[in-house]
Amino acid sequence: MIQRVNPDLKKYLVKYGVQDWNECFHCGNCTAICPLTDQGFLFPRKAIRQVQMGLKTSLASNFDPWLCYYCGECSETCPRDANPGELMMSLRRYLTSVYDWTGFSKLFYTKKIWEFLTIIILFILVIASFVVWFPKEQIANFTTYIGDHSFLKVIEAGDLIMAAVVAFVLISNIFRMWYLTILKPKYKVPFIEYFRGIYVLPGVFASQISFRKCDTDGRLYWVNHLLLMTGYTLMFILVVVFLPKFQVSEVYNWYHWQRLLGYYATFGLLFGLSAMFIGRWRKKSEKFKFSHLSDWLFIIMLFLTTLTGILVHIFRLADMPYATYYLYIIHLAVLVPMICVEVPFSKWSHLAYRPFSIYFYYLKKAALSKQHKSKLAAAA
Amino acid sequence: MSFQPTIVSFLCNWCSYTGADLAGTSRMKYASNIRIIRVMCSGRIEPTFVLKAFREGADGVLICGCHPGDCHYHEGNYKCLRRFHLLQKYIKQMGMDEDRLQLKWISASEGKQFAELADSFTEEIRNLGPCKVKEVMETLT
């Protein structure tokens, strides 16, 4: 298919953080040094070229950016300081908005004011709903009322609605990703491969194993990311799926599974977030050199959620109902916008796109190898 | 061992000798039967030189000059061409195979062509077998 060269695309991509695209003269050092480069998949050079030429369709069908974990080797090696690593990062933001059919992602990334506004509105909405609906007389014994069945029912309902909406948006976007990367470029994937490839999904998701290849200076980033990811996922499952078991009136012993899991998740979140925060603050390693507003927002929101969650826990143990109540409101007021904005439309969405990109990558390779084999057979 | 012919080759200084030098600097390999004699221009090559070479035992004689139009001395190679045709006729009349004498154009940049020519000419002369001129002349005298 012939694509039109579009010189204006890269000007638009600047809003997603794309910069220095001009410097690249395609020496290929980035591809050579990349620990993830595979035969026939020449990232990041190929993606840079697509940006330079403004090839929208090619970019949309390119899931290479999701395969990259930003070790920063390419940017360090680049003789022209074209920052290929950061370009891949920016393209992940762009692709998030490409997959998202609702248009919110594009809106949030390109017009920051809307992201802030949405967060603030959701924040106020949560607080307002507490002010309006919460029975005032229960504030004094909130430390036990927090696990009360009648209260929990409301919270759980809200929880599930939110989870359903987020899941719907994410899953439909993953289907769009599949359409754009596999179906539209007409890769003929043998049907059986869809099942054969499915095993990669939970494995890569749980172990973050591909990340390890990119740990060029020790394994810290991988451990970091693994802690953060498992902490976050665990906490997500606890508060969404097992809320009645997690948020209870009774205070269990410290070695109870519910508390141990909660502590692990909190530790993972805190550790991972602090490392990221420090990294972005100091800008020493390549991967933290450039921070888009969405990166900061994501860290701060999650950090605040974690912090308020910890405080709620402490005040509750200290038997301070008022403090517990107000912090619980703030906790939810930060948590709700974080999940509604960040998870489906912004940085958090990578938890879905990354494992699926590896799955699609598997499918694409299968399609290409079949094509190659049939070509050889035809030649023979 | 198969017959190893002795070949004398006259090359003009400006094109063909330089071309043969290029074959050397490019480390191309060719049959070692050829012995090169340098003249300034292919126009300098007298019939006597060729006949002398056969008389002294050469099995083949290869003359190389600049391509038509490229002669350093404008037209020496044309003169050579005319003499060559006559000379070929002459050696044929003497009872020799006319293919033992050949004229080819080799420019200064045609090292590869020279190496190939050296090989193919050697092969051709090898197929023709030894030239008996020297033997015959010695018996006659």
Binding site: R49 | T6, Y17, R44, K79
Partner: protein, 578 residues
């Protein structure tokens, strides 16, 4: 006659020769050849100690002939001749056997290569026996210079020579001086105005009493030799004769006509223009399509007629940078336009050029690489919905994608090619053409200004595509060479000329017919041919045509060559029998 005493030296050339030829064995065996007094092998004969070895031996052993068997005589013959001269021997008492380029480097069997080396040396030994002493000769130098071509190269050379107070005849075929520079707006990489550079130079030329300018002038005929040329020129039909000692050919180039490239369809698209036309547009100050509109999308296609086996294989050298210059000028004139380059390689060598590339690539210019050997871009008419006039389709090499580019104006960076009369003029002045129809210099690396005809120099784009600084430096280098010769007053001429033995000459005049330099004339009184030794270049064609053997070609005499054949073959057969 004195006894012949030959010194033979076999060079190792490090391992270059010694690896494939048993040099020690060769030196030992050849010592027994007749007249060989000393036979030695040495690591590097061309080195100072190697030469000193020869000089010492000449004095010690009273040698009067030397044979060095080493590399090609085209490389070191002059070096060893000089060594002989230093030892008080005539430099022509020397012969080289080429056992490197013609032996050790091209063969693989050590024994066979060693045998071949011996036969080549035997030939050289036999030949050198008949060598004779030759003396150098000089002629006076005419201090005037003829410069053909009034472009920037010719103008620079003319000013350089005339500023030293020497006469210059400047010949231009058109009606004004300045050449292609007259049509140029700005020059890369520093964006100097071409007109501001060339105009003052033309003024200076016109006001310099030492420069005679001939406009609308053609060269009819040229005779003579270095130091003493003469020519007939015709100016507007009137003929004139000039005499001078040196010639500078500065005839420049012409632009390639892109009509022959079907994919570009230059003839039918009004807004597909050549770089020459675009330059004129820039000079006029307005970038407009043929319809008079400002173009939104401007595409520049590189290597039009260059670096392609169907047109010219060479690189035209200046188009990449000119195209970058265009980008800068377009960007200043039309800030909102889209600029695309369809290029094959970006060649930004030279001072300030890579910087220009970096600067330009920062101005939102899109570079698209195509395969100039097999897959040229195609220009097509666009439909209404494309919102542009033309579309360029190309397979982009760096991304591997097939893309199309919108275009309202396409600039073809056309190749530089040699002038259509390059061949005839070359024949007139005695300069040959290379495969690309440009004039050949004497040596591509070490003597890029002179030609194989003494006294004739080629400068500027008639030798190969060049930019302004290269043309100017070449022109001034030629001027410096000529001034040095004028200053010296005399020039050395060829020694290895032909000479007529009047006793043997029958006056048939065959030699007069074959001489390409009209160096042989017929003396009616004596009924013999006479060689003008200044005109003779020593090709030897007369020698092989002479029916009576009256003409001797110095240093390539019948005796010398026949002996070489004899020596070579007898050794060959001797070794074969063993």
């Amino acid at each position: 006659m004195e006894e012949t005493r030959i010194g033979l030296y076999v060079c190792w050339c490090g391992t270059n020769i010694a690896k494939m030829v048993d040099v020690e064995n060769v030196a030992k065996e050849m010592e027994s050849m007749p007249n060989v007094v000393v036979s030695k092998d040495y690591k590097y004969m061309c080195s100072d100690p190697g030469q000193d070895l020869i000089i010492k031996d000449i004095k010690e052993h009273n040698l009067n002939r030397v044979v060095v068997s080493a590399c090609s005589p085209r490389i070191h013959e002059l070096t060893f001749r000089k060594a002989l001269e230093n030892a008080g021997l005539n430099p022509y008492m020397f012969e080289m056997a080429n056992i490197r380029e013609h032996d050790s480097w091209v063969h693989t069997d050590r024994e066979e290569a060693t045998r071949k080396a011996k036969t080549l040396i035997a030939g050289a030994l036999n030949r050198v026996r008949w060598h004779e002493s030759l003396e150098k000769r000089t002629v006076d130098m005419n201090p005037a210079t003829l410069i053909i071509g009034g472009g920037i190269a010719g103008i620079s050379a003319a000013l350089e020579i005339a500023d030293s107070g020497k006469k210059v005849y400047l010949i231009e075929k058109s009606d004004k001086l300045g050449g292609h520079l007259l049509n140029v707006d700005l020059t890369y990489p520093y964006m100097y105005s071409a007109q501001e550079m060339i105009k003052p130079k033309i003024d200076r030329i016109e006001n310099n009493p030492d420069i005679d300018i001939f406009l609308n002038t053609q060269i009819e005929d040229l005779t003579g030799y270095v130091g003493n040329f003469q020519t007939k020129i015709s100016q507007d039909g009137a003929e004139k004769e000039l005499k001078f000692g040196s010639i500078i050919v500065a005839t420049g180039l012409r632009a390639f006509n892109p009509d022959s490239i079907k994919d570009y369809d230059y003839a039918n698209f009004p807004n597909v223009i050549t770089s020459v036309e675009f330059e004129a547009m820039l000079k006029s100050g307005k970038i407009l399509t043929k319809e008079g509109k400002e173009p939104k999308n401007i595409s520049i296609i590189h290597c039009v007629g260059s670096r392609n086996h169907d047109y010219h294989e060479y690189c035209s050298r200046t188009c990449c940078m000119t195209a970058l210059k265009y980008s800068n000028q377009i960007r200043s004139a039309l800030p909102d336009s889209h600029i695309y380059h369809a290029y094959a390689d970006m060649r930004a060598f030279g001072k300030g050029c890579e910087e220009l590339y970096t600067k330009t690539s920062g101005k939102d210019v899109i570079f698209l690489m195509y395969d100039q050997k097999n897959d040229l871009p195609k220009i097509k008419k666009a439909s209404v919905k494309d919102k542009c006039e033309m579309l360029i389709e190309l397979n982009e090499k760096l991304s591997g994608e097939s893309v199309e580019v919108a275009a309202d104006m396409v600039i073809l960076m056309v190749a530089m090619e040699s002038n259509d009369n390059a061949k005839t003029l070359g024949q007139t002045v005695g300069v040959s053409l290379c495969g690309n129809e440009f004039y050949i210099e004497k040596h591509p690396k070490l003597d890029p200004v002179a030609t194989t005809t003494d006294g004739v120099y080629v400068v500027g784009s008639c030798q190969s595509p060049k930019d302004i600084p290269d043309s100017v430096s070449q022109a001034r280098a030629a001027a410096a060479r000529i001034l040095a010769k004028i200053n010296y007053g005399t020039v050395e001429v060829e020694v290895t000329t032909a000479v007529v033995n009047e006793e043997l000459c029958c006056g048939c005049q065959t030699c007069v017919c074959v001489c390409p330099y009209t160096a042989i004339s017929y003396d009616e009184e004596k009924n013999v041919s006479v060689v003008n030794e200044v005109l003779c270049k020593g090709c030897g064609t007369c020698g092989s045509a002479c029916p009576t053997g009256a003409i001797k070609c110095r240093h390539y005499t019948d005796q010398q060559i026949l002996s070489q054949i004899e020596g070579l073959l007898s050794k060959s057969l001797e070794l074969q029998e063993v």
